[in-house]
């Protein structure tokens, strides 16, 4: 690897880091605004015009609060929990292709941090590690409610990852590759996977809601029963990290959904463009799709009530997994038929 290449990658990582954090910060603002609109209210409008400085005010407040650790808590794990939560949700962004290559002064720049050829496995892996943040935080707090929340979070993640993984397998079967770049390339133009795999899309979307702990699957933080669950004992920026990592993973999940099912940076009539124009339009297409899904995440949160835990398990194990399996089986049969196995 040349030095220039390393610098280029580092710059891109820094940029992506800033963009992800900025989007996560403004997602909190947007969430409050969207909630307000859905409830016929105005929402935050005091900090700056239309309240756009609200995330800065919130962040500043969290930074200047007392960094408190309960006496009975396991100190190191207590600090580690929010760190892991934030780290894992930021890491998943590393393999996402944001657009096709850009050319600046003769250098080709990939708009992707790492083109790993098992990109989707990498994402699934980090999604699974994400639960450790919640689990460790809940365990280290030494609080019944936090512990309950940690247990709920881990069983929920395990149950929904299965169905999610099976949906990913169907997509991988269609594409024939685990690389996110190949998956996006195979959906050139309007040839999006959602038209071939609508069932897989619905199952994947439901699982993504459950994996990011968003309503109606926000049982780990369930205010009415668990007083906030795993972050009951947390305060200041450690609490901020947990809340923030939820929005980061919401952003990344939306990006993954648009890559797997909605063609990533592909958009209709993309063959009329080439070079940098295509890349920039691709970035716009990618972010538009991501933001639409983030809005849908919020829309669902402010529409549906929370599931009961037995309903959650019932849905995960008895409905989503069999449906995903049948869907995978049918996809396999159709692929085999197309390849002439039955002739």
């Amino acid at each position: 690897m040349e030095t220039s290449e390393i610098i280029e990658k580092l710059l891109f990582i820094g940029l992506l880091f800033l963009i992800t954090l900025g989007i996560a910060a403004y997602a909190t603002y947007l969430e409050r605004k969207v909630a307000a609109w859905f409830q016929d209210r105005i929402g935050p409008d005091r900090a700056g015009p239309f309240g756009i400085l609200q995330p800065l005010a919130d962040g500043g407040k969290l930074f200047f609060k007392e960094d408190f650790i309960p006496a009975a808590a396991d100190k190191w794990l207590f600090i580690l929990g929010p760190g892991i939560a934030m780290f894992t949700s930021m890491m998943t962004g590393a393999v996402i292709p944001w657009s096709s290559d850009i050319e600046i002064a003769g250098n080709t720049i990939e708009l992707q941090v790492a083109d790993v050829n098992i990109g989707i496995l990498f994402i699934m892996g980090f999604l699974s590690i994400g639960v450790y943040g919640i689990m460790i935080g809940g365990w280290a707090s030494n609080n019944k409610f936090s512990l309950f929340s940690a247990i709920r979070a881990s069983s929920q993640m395990i149950s929904y990852e299965l169905a999610m993984g099976i949906c990913v397998i169907t997509i991988v079967m269609l594409t024939g590759s685990l690389s996110l770049n190949k998956i996006v390339e195979s959906q050139h133009g309007m040839n999006w996977n959602v038209f071939y795999q609508p069932v897989a899309f619905i199952i994947f979307f439901i699982c993504a809601l459950a994996e990011t702990n968003r309503a109606p699957f926000d049982l780990p933080e369930c205010e009415s029963e668990l007083i906030g669950g795993y972050h009951t004992e947390y305060g200041a920026m450690k609490m901020g990290f947990y809340l923030f990592s939820e929005y980061v993973s919401m952003f990344i999940s939306s990006a993954i959904i648009s890559i797997l099912f909605f063609g990533g940076f592909n958009f209709p009539w993309m063959d009329h463009f080439n070079g940098n124009t295509l890349a920039i339009l691709g970035v716009i297409a990618m972010f538009t799709k991501t933001f639409i899904f983030m809005f849908v995440f919020m829309w669902i949160r402010w529409t549906l009530p929370r599931f009961r835990f037995d309903q959650l398990m019932h849905l995960g194990w008895k409905s989503l997994i069999p449906m995903a399996l049948i869907n995978m089986l049918i996809t396999g049969i159709v692929i085999a038929f197309n390849e002439g196995w039955f002739n």
């Binding site: 307000a36 609109w37 859905f38 409830q39 016929d40 209210r41 105005i42 409008d45 829309w299 669902i300 402010w302 529409t303 549906l304």
Partner: protein
């Protein structure tokens, strides 16, 4: 049994149909309802900047009236305190001495008159009970406070100042006395 109100609903525990069991139609229905709310006018009143228009007979903060010569109307009869359902009013009566005729209208007056605004329910029964047209509710709002004892209003805040009379003509004129 026959329903008298016509609002009786028979509760049934019937099995859900397939469409109901997969929940998706209900979920999309709910999302459509919330989506329609996106475009609805909000009902928020940005309070310090915008103020609600009160009806003319709004029952807000009390005032102890003076007559046109600036004498206090209240004679500390205690009927308002008796009428008060929240027992918010308390008073101590005193006798008018010579030289105070320009301050108090009759021979007896309230030396101390307190309304606990945290107890008051702004029902207006004190105003109805008053035989001397001394106490009225006005369209002023009760301001917020940090301390609980700030809510006990004494005569310093209840009696209207002589130079800035408080208009109560929008409240119903009880007509108990012809000339005020």
């Amino acid at each position: 049994m026959q329903s008298l109100s016509n609002r009786k609903k028979v509760v049934s525990n019937k099995k859900m149909t397939f469409l109901e069991r997969i929940y998706l139609p209900a979920i999309f229905g709910g999302m459509w309802i919330t989506f329609k709310h996106l475009f609805r006018k909000n009902n928020t009143l940005k309070y310090p900047e915008e103020q609600r228009v009160l009806v003319p007979i709004y029952r807000g903060l009390h005032v102890l009236k003076r007559d046109e010569q600036g004498r206090e109307n209240c004679t500390a009869c205690g009927l308002c305190a008796v009428a008060c359902p929240a027992e918010a009013i308390t008073m101590v009566a005193a006798e008018r001495v010579k030289g105070e005729e320009n301050l108090y209208r009759e021979e007896k007056y309230a030396e101390l008159y307190e309304i606990d605004m945290l107890r008051c329910i702004f029902c207006g029964l004190c105003e109805e009970a008053c035989p001397k047209e001394a106490i009225f509710l006005t369209d002023r709002l009760l301001p917020a406070n940090f301390e609980r004892d700030e809510f006990i209003y004494g005569k310093d805040r209840l009696v209207e100042p002589i130079d800035q009379r408080i208009d109560i003509s929008k409240r119903q004129h009880t007509g108990k006395r012809t000339e005020l």
